[in-house]
């Protein structure tokens, strides 16, 4: 840290403050480092795959930008303003920013306060480092490849010209008779060739080429494009003209702006709530923050294990519940895609009678209320703006398709039963509240299968899975006992494992639950994928997104 000579605070008793320029530089540097870390720019494998061009360009940019900023913002000079902790001076131009325990963070500019700044070289280095960080955040292999393509994009040879008109094709074949007439014509015995005269090929009347003509000057082509655009604006195919439409849009400007903001902010397009009495599997603050910061979980969920073992400990059932829900609703490996992660909210640790209370009393939970209101408001906005462009705007789904409430409660006394349905009134609409109870989850595979079935039945009304929808063969399926017996013989074990494709766990085959050796090599992908895809087709019939 550099301090101007003759202004030593210790000696003179003056107050000292950190220079605003230094604080800004350090703050920007820290922000850049954090952003780089969040964007995984410090991972060794990222650097391993990075093209040398990226580092070269980033380095060049950093030196240039850092030096320019350093020079033109005159960062080599001492800061006029400073920040310091302490009591606000009774005299001087100071403002208190934060105050705690009698001390406050003060920003100000006073000539008698020592301002401590970083040395100019350090400032320069910091800004070069910031420039390097910004460049590494913005530049990657793809960006460099795109930059590399820029010259070819502006290459005149890439402009599409109209093809030159093809010369008329002449008939190549001549009959023997025509050859005689031609000979007579040449000798002067006849004055015309008659039907043997070479006929020009019929020109096909095609569409008028509106691209640039080969001999068309740039300016003329540009003017013609502009005139076409203006014509397009004035006259449209059907419906009102562009100006009329613009007037209509002006009348609904707030709604349009709101709808655009909702789209740009990628707000949830539906609000489905699942209440369960299982505890929160991630009660720690850090896990919650990570969950909030995560944008789009598709890439992570695409690599979920097919059938994980339930973890030991109290969070095990909750994590299994989360996994099954993610597989059913979000895993993008299965089609069709029916929901995004933030659109289905799990309310952990809910009271066992939550669904009964939802049916009886008005919705009161502020978290649920906000989410539901947000989606319903967006729906109302969409309904308002849809008539402005009915051709392109999608149908607005009913409120019951985009908002739903479900409860899956674990109760040792529960018996397998169909979901109980209730209704909830909110905002002038009636929503279904569905509840299922099932025995607590245990570590065997059968428990996970039951969870899949119950959750599927809860989320998609009318869902059913049977022999007709299973991948298991209908005609030649061996009896369960025979299948179980086949695996008692050790010979040809690998080949025998193929028989498991006709033992769909979702259809029973409880004997498999007693064979962990077979469950470890069970072809889950065959039956699980089918189960999830059958579920999603059914789900899509009842629930949806904006």
């Amino acid at each position: 840290m550099k301090r101007p000579a003759g202004q030593r605070s210790e000696a003179s008793g003056h107050a000292a403050g950190l220079g605003a320029r230094s604080v800004t530089a350090v703050g920007l540097f820290a922000g850049t480092v954090v952003t780089m870390w969040r964007m995984e720019r410090f991972r060794p494998d990222y650097w391993a795959q990075l093209s040398p061009w990226v580092t070269f360009l980033a380095g060049g940019f950093a030196v240039l930008a850092g030096t320019l900023v350093f020079m033109y913002w005159r960062l080599a000079e001492r800061s006029h303003s400073y920040l310091r902790f302490g009591d606000k001076l009774p005299f001087g131009d100071e403002t208190s920013l934060l105050a705690a325990r009698g001390r406050s963070l003060v920003v100000g500019r006073a000539p008698f306060v020592d301002v401590v700044d970083l040395p100019p070289r350090a400032m320069h280095a910091l800004y070069v480092a910031i420039g390097l960080g910004v460049a590494l955040i913005g530049l990657d292999n793809r960006a460099v490849a795109l930059l590399h393509e820029v010259p070819s994009r502006f290459d005149p040879s890439s402009i599409e010209y109209c093809k030159p008109p093809e010369p008329p094709k002449r008939e190549a074949k001549r009959s023997q008779g025509c050859k005689l007439i031609e000979r007579a014509y040449k000798l002067g015995y006849t004055k015309s060739l008659g039907s043997c005269a070479p006929a020009e090929a019929k020109r096909e009347v095609g569409e008028v080429c509106t691209r640039r003509q080969l001999d068309e000057p740039h300016l003329h082509y540009a003017w013609r494009r502009l005139a076409d655009r203006v014509d397009d604006l004035r006259t449209t195919d059907a419906g009102p003209g562009s100006l009329d439409r613009f007037e209509q849009q002006l009348d609904h400007l707030p709604a349009i702006a709101e709808a655009t903001l909702d789209t740009v902010a990628m707000r949830p397009r539906s609000s489905h709530h699942v209440f369960t009495n299982l505890p929160d599997p991630r009660p720690r603050l850090r896990d919650r923050v990570d969950g909030l910061l995560e944008r789009g979980c598709g890439a992570r969920l695409a690599h979920l294990p097919h059938f994980p073992r339930m973890e030991d400990g109290p969070a095990g059932p909750s994590k299994l519940f989360e996994h099954v829900l993610a597989q059913l609703m979000f895993n993008p490996s299965y089609k069709p895609i029916v929901a995004q992660c933030e659109e289905v909210v799990v309310h952990w640790g809910a009271a066992p009678d939550t669904c009964a209370r939802l049916g009886d009393r008005p919705l009161a939970d502020p978290g649920v209320l906000d989410a539901v209101r947000g989606v319903l408001d967006w729906r109302a906005t969409r309904a308002e703006t849809r008539p402005l462009d009915p051709a392109r705007a999608a149908e607005v789904p009913p409120a019951q398709r985009i908002v739903s409430f479900q409860c899956l409660m674990f109760d040792p006394a529960a018996e397998s039963a169909a979901p109980v349905e209730r209704t909830l009134a909110f905002g002038g609409e009636r929503f279904a509240v569905r509840e299922v109870r099932m025995p607590p989850l245990v570590g065997d595979g059968g428990s996970q299968i039951r969870l899949y079935k119950q959750l599927a039945a809860l989320m998609a009304p009318g869902f059913g899975y049977g022999r007709l929808t299973s991948n298991q063969a209908i005609a030649a399926t061996p009896e369960e006992a025979a299948l179980a017996e086949a695996f008692r013989q050790p010979a040809f074990w690998l080949t025998r494992l193929d028989l498991l494709r006709d033992a769909d766990l979702f259809l029973g085959n409880d004997w498999l639950a007693r064979r962990p050796d077979l469950l470890e090599v069970y072809p889950y992908h065959l039956h699980l994928q089918n189960f999830i895809e059958v579920f999603r087709r059914q789900y899509k019939q009842h629930e949806g997104r904006l």
Binding site: H303, L304, P305, H306, F307, P308, A473, A475, A476, T477, P478, R488, Q489, P490, A491, F492, W493, L494, T495, R496, L497, D498, L499, R501, D502, R514, R515, P516, D517, L518, E520, V521, P523, Y524, H525, L526, Q529
Partner: protein, 195 residues
């Protein structure tokens, strides 16, 4: 002695620790293919291929598997002692690979090959070999690979771990993965032409 242990493991105590039992079985498969006479291995493979393409053609997988199992046991029945056991193990790998052909070379790739290549069967075999090689390369790059100097038991444990992981996250059955790697490793990556 080892064979007896594997049989016991797979028969009765499979519930206790499936993983070591599977690894021991894979090690035995590798040893069996390595130990079998080249000509006998080629004959067994040819026989099972012919049976699978003709007699065992069935729309239901269960029927195809049953038929192949029957054909393979009949083929090895005439042999005695260790030779029979080796024949059964090699047949197990060959039969599984035959059943897995449609997974490794899906119908669309098969049609492409058939429309472009005159000798489609050899081209499909080459493609299959290429896919086995890719799988083995994946194993070699994975955390499960015990190293190039590892013994058969360690390699078998690595194959089991790798295939369990692949079967748990990808659309590939454990036995297809294991059989493909076992075949490639035990035959030292030899193609059908050079075998």
């Amino acid at each position: 002695m080892r064979a007896v242990l594997v049989v016991l493991a797979l028969c009765g105590v499979a519930h206790a620790e499936p993983r070591p039992a599977r690894a021991a079985y894979i090690a035995d498969l590798i040893e069996a293919i390595r130990g079998i006479d080249r000509a006998a291995l080629a004959n067994t493979r040819k026989y099972l291929q012919v049976v699978e393409r003709n007699k065992c053609q069935a729309p239901e997988m269960t029927l195809r598997v049953g038929c192949l199992l029957e054909a393979a046991s009949q083929n090895c029945k005439s042999l005695a002692g260790d030779a029979r056991e080796r024949c059964r193990r090699a047949s197990d790998v060959i039969a599984t690979n035959l059943l897995a052909e449609r997974v490794f070379v899906p119908d669309d790739v098969r049609y492409q090959i058939m429309s472009k290549q005159r000798d489609a069967r050899s081209a499909i075999a080459r493609e299959l070999h290429r896919r086995y090689a890719a799988l083995v390369a994946e194993l070699a790059m994975s955390e499960f690979f015990p190293g190039p100097r590892a013994d058969t038991a360690a390699l078998a444990a690595g194959i089991d771990g790798f295939c369990s992981d692949a079967a748990g996250t990808r659309d590939l059955s454990w036995q297809y993965c294991a059989a493909a790697i076992v075949w490639f490793v035990a035959t030292d990556g030899a193609t059908e032409e050079t075998r």
